[in-house]
Point group: C2
Chain length 235, copies 2
Amino acid sequence: MEVKYKIIAKKIEENIIEGKYDNTKKLPTVEELMEIYKVSRSTIRQAINTLVDKGEVYQVQGSGIFIRETKKDGFINIQYMRGLSGDFIKNKIKTKVLELKVIKSDREISEKMKCNEGTDLYFIKRLRYLDNDAYTVEYSYYNKEIIPYLNTEIVEESIYSYISESLKLNIGFADKIIYCEPLTLEHSKLLGLKEGDGSLVIEDTVFLTNGLVFDTSKVIYNYKFAKLLSLSNYK
Amino acid sequence: MEVKYKIIAKKIEENIIEGKYDNTKKLPTVEELMEIYKVSRSTIRQAINTLVDKGEVYQVQGSGIFIRETKKDGFINIQYMRGLSGDFIKNKIKTKVLELKVIKSDREISEKMKCNEGTDLYFIKRLRYLDNDAYTVEYSYYNKEIIPYLNTEIVEESIYSYISESLKLNIGFADKIIYCEPLTLEHSKLLGLKEGDGSLVIEDTVFLTNGLVFDTSKVIYNYKFAKLLSLSNYK
């Protein structure tokens, strides 16, 4: 189903993630890639262009294709959404479920989730620890028409893994709004900080590949630990 | 020089930015686009794939190509770097230059800028107002070997316009680190806030398309006004 250059782009991407080019921070030459993947020059060119657009590599005329630092230890790359468990594979993540219930969608949430008012939604409030530090307070809503069943056990682990691996749904993309906000007394207590301390906040609206919104959330990060990474292109 | 599908992708992008599809939030069909641009189906397909990778559109099987909200009034889209003047075309931006001098690069900055220790750098400290609100305190370093001349007049306006329009250099991409940090007394006074209030901070390392770093900066945003937008893809 997928076109050839997309498949090649993914293979190169996997090699980058696995650290295959960490020594040189460079990809093989176009000629070498043609040889490795047994495809034409134009397929390799298109695959490289895809990786450039995604901010993963950049080309320097006459000296090669260089790899951008898409991963940094301890940083959340906000261009990709892998969930906390995906971002911190080396760390221990512990989740305390503070609330899990079914509610009816109100006007404000319906607008965000592009669903009818009154739609059944899972409402989840979680406190998440990275290693032993309180890292985030999360408020999430999941459309029950798309995610028909959640329980404490699922919600204590990675909801995203459950959605993609058990429900076999294709998570597509997310609109994220990022800002800084003073902590309420309640949140400051949960995060072990002081009321009024700044916090980094990310509001997410998350879509399946078919364009349906299945999740909106507000995540309040402990400012002492949260660092985001974004690889931007000039325009 | 540029391949055909890239040119088509840019044209479609321009139409999106100009609001041509604001009514429907959808692109014309592939067949219509083939007709409009007089190119083959595969060229249109590649152009669309480019826009998908860049997070500008998404496809829904059987119902069309939808436009993502890459612009929101008052939000900074951190995937693109257009400078403050580019992000807020409707607002009045005023810049107060607090410092402008040539310094020698120390070890820390040399590492970030991938230049030798002792390289001449412009150091610039600016306070920027959005309409009448103090919006950012910015600390920037520019490599003088790449940007040979800056003066107060240039630095009071958009440095990026000067670099691309007057120096004809091609700004390529940037690595951005985003976090939240308590304000120092000095910064709180400049921004009209309280010492210890949270601030949204972006550290930038900015590259020309040829891979040379010409600028690193730390920008401290007034948390009351700063909102970032990021369109992410799942991975």
